[in-house]
Each structure stands twice: as C-alpha cells, then as structure tokens.
Symmetry: C2
Subunit: 296 residues, 2 copies
Amino acid sequence: MDFNEKLKKYADIINSELEKYVRREECPEKILNDSMEYSLISSAKRLRPILMISSYQLFQDDYEKVFPFAIAMEMIHNFSLIHDDLPALDNDDIRHGKPTNHKKFGEVTAILAGDALLNGAYQVISQDILNTSDDNELKKKIRVFNEITHGTDRMIAGEYVDTEFEGQEISNEYLEYMHNNKTGALIKASVRIGAILADSSDQDLDILTSYAEKIGLAFQIKDDILSEIGDEKILGKPVGNDREKNKVTFVTKYGLDKAKEILEKITAEATLIIDKYGANGEFLKELALYIKNREK
Amino acid sequence: MDFNEKLKKYADIINSELEKYVRREECPEKILNDSMEYSLISSAKRLRPILMISSYQLFQDDYEKVFPFAIAMEMIHNFSLIHDDLPALDNDDIRHGKPTNHKKFGEVTAILAGDALLNGAYQVISQDILNTSDDNELKKKIRVFNEITHGTDRMIAGEYVDTEFEGQEISNEYLEYMHNNKTGALIKASVRIGAILADSSDQDLDILTSYAEKIGLAFQIKDDILSEIGDEKILGKPVGNDREKNKVTFVTKYGLDKAKEILEKITAEATLIIDKYGANGEFLKELALYIKNREK
C-alpha cells in the first residue's frame, strides 16, 4: 500500500468510527445533535487521529486501542474549529468547502455544539476508562486523559493569543508561542498518546515528542502559507483571510520565501528524527512530508 | 452551628479551594486567565459543591475527598453561566451583581474562558485521578468522572432547548425536560457524586437521586419565580428578564400561584425522602427548604 492509499485507509477507518458516535435519535435537542454531526462528519484530513495510529504502530499492531482517544481528539479538534469560526472570533463563513457551523445552524447552536463536542470527547474517554479492567491499560489511559486535558488547555490559550493579538506587532517568541499552543499542542498530544498507549519507553516518547513539535509548527506554517497562496477550491476556504484580518502569521512576519525556507528546514529535522526507526518509521516520515506538501 | 452558619462555612471552604486553581502568573493569555477568575471567584451560592459535601457527609466525615470534584463542578457551572449570558444566547448584562463576563472582557474572551473552564474542570479531575493509587478510590473516581460528563452533556442539551424554544408554545413535558436537563442534571450529579465517593449503597444512591431530582426541579421553579418577582438588589440580576425574552418558564406556563404551589409540593416531597436519615439528614432537608425560600 503506498502512502496515499494508507492515508485514505486510515481516514476511512476514523470516519467509520466517528459514525458510531453520531446521535440521530428524535429528541428535543435534535438540531443540536445535527449540527455536531455536520461538523464532525466531513472531508477533513483526520490528521490527529492518523498521527495517533501511526505513532502507536511504531511499537504495536493492534491500533484499535487508540480509537476512543482518536475519536475524542477529533471531537476536540472540531469543537475548536466551530468556536474559532464564530463571528466574535475569526468570523469565517466557509470550512471544508461548506458553510461553517454558525452559518448553517446559527450562533446559539454553534456555540453549544462546540461545548457539547468538547464535553462529548470526555464522555467518550470516561466511558472507555470505565470499561477498562486491566490495571496496566487503565494506568496508560488515565495518563492519556491527562495529556488530552493539558493539550486542549494549551490549544485554547493559543487561540486566545491568536485572536487577541490580531493587528498588533508581536515578537517572534510570541508568534511561536501562539503556534505551538494553538496548533502544536494537540498534534503533540496525538503523537504522544499513540506512543503511551503502545507502551513506548520514555526515551522513545521524548524522541517522538521532538518530532511532534516539529511537525506541529510545520503544520501551522504551511497553514499560513496556504492562507496566502493556496487554491481556494482545493483548500475549501477563502484565501487571503489571514492578511485581511491582520493576523500575525509566519508569512506576514517573515515573508513568503522565508516562511517556506523555515518549513523546509523543520520538516527535514522532523524526518531526520524519525530515521532512527528505519523502515518502521517510514509512514511518520511521509506524514511530515505530506504536511509540508499538502494543498489543503 | 445553625444552618446559615454551616452554609457560610461550606461556601468559604469552597471559595478558598477555588483560589488554589486561579492562575495569576504573567503569560500571553493572562487576560483570559483573569476573565476565568472574574467569573469563578464571586459571591455565588456554591450550591452544587455544598450539595456534594452534604451528601458525602451523610455517610462519611472526611469530606476533603470531594474537593477536586466540587471544584470541577463549580468550574463547569461557571462555564455554563458565561456561555448562557453571551449575546447570541440569553444576552444578559448582569450576573452576581456585576457585569457578565462578555460585558467585562468582550465576547472573544468570554467564549474562550467558558471553553477553558469546561476543559479546566476535566484537568482538575484528570490530575486527581492520576494522583490516586488506591484501587477502590480510583474506581469511585472513574465512576464520578463519568457522572460529570453525563450531567454536563444533559445541561448543554437543556440550555439548547431553553434558548431554541424561546417564544414558542411548548408542552408541559418539554418544559420539564428542559428544566431537568438545564438545571437538574448537574444538581443531581452533585448529590450522586457525594454519595458515590462516600461508598453509599445502591439503595441510598437511589434515594438520594430522587431527592436530587426534586430539589433540582424546585431550584429552577424558584429561579423562574425570582425572575418574575425577585428583588433585583438581592438577586444581583434584572427581574422580568424571562418574560421580556419570551422564555417559557413555570411562571409563564402555570401562573405565579400555581408555580409556588408546585414548588411547595416538591420541596415537601424532597424533605420527606430525607426523613429516612433522621438527624443525619437534617442539613440536606434544610438545603431543600433553603432552595425554596432563597431570595437569590
């Protein structure tokens, strides 16, 4: 199976897992559930769940074990997208090639759907932990639960800094802080969670954490570049948005060429880190290149 | 110690516990942290934490064990207040006698502060679970974690129904569904969590669940009454708000007299349930009366 086939296979697996958590029964809050489904079931890349699976697979094969946490991660990611898109925040109308949640369902529903997805992630986690009797598994899952709460906390802080500092001159340190938190925290958590669940050694966990920090930053720099020169049709959202909103990005801060140069550099660093794992690490290396080369 | 002294003592204990979770360090998201503190540290009644402590005390004395969950519950409660008050939802300007979070800090910060408080509650829980080595304690805490995710899910659904059905004719069943979820779910969870952590029997848990369902509904009916005829100065928020917004409440649905009659009836039922516990249950009985008689 080549890289793209494997990527698609994993995304399909995650999509069919996500389907299990969609609530479709008749109830007074049916439209709220519909709006959660609207955001959750999409043509998204499922990058975080795929990173979790791939990091797990570096050490063990039975990657079904990561599913509840992969689902929870994707729910948290979607909560963050719904709230980020709100009029008070980024005020975005289009995401994944369709109207954003509040454009489709209105602000009340979008705010509460985001809340319900964040909480829903912890429902999934708590149910999985509740159903776990093996002591060793339980210990790992409790640790993973903690990783997710911490990553989400950092993501929210990063989003705050991103929105609050629009139009202001900020230092390189602030820009990196913002990116590391906003996008990096959950990407890092995803990679770490896969490794933790697969009983990786502390040393491996450290190595993978460095890799994750690199690709997390690379992901956001590529986002900044795509927001400047991407193809709207492929990207599924308007281009030029960041500049219009006076967002501080790697492109507005360093210029396009320098941003591309930094992206190349940290991607090379990320793949170099993974060299240690030889053929086993091939997919994680290709994921780093995919993040750099992606067009959406 | 009489009832009011005991109530104040517990509120003081909760307030000083909450203080420990306030982040005051200098960081790029300092104002976000300030806004979380602004809502969290207030003259609130701390009803949910107090119910948790009181229910625990029915069976055991060392109620410090409930603190992390009491704190998490109060964080979730405050997340819900911040989001409910937003312009898109209830559009309220005053809460606890001071400007609502978004009035003070703006909508961006209020939305993200609510998100961070909800996630923060799970951070507190995950940290406490991570630090627990005793197997029996761990089992109870995992169960309690699950209770909280479920209660919060119901609370969000109830808030959705409340906001979405403004100005519409809804059935008695819908009104009760809305109240049971919006306010009842977390009150019920609080009472149940205290009992679970105190190793209550299943039978006691059932009894306390019935009690909690009664006082949860009573709490919301009293809210509806206070919103109609309360004293703004004592209440700390405007009176007549519900009517102005065409909210469906027990008062608009049944009229003031009938609402008061229902409130008396279910409060009597709640205290009757607690009779079983004799002198031990005195405080829970008085809490039911307090909920009925409160002026804020």
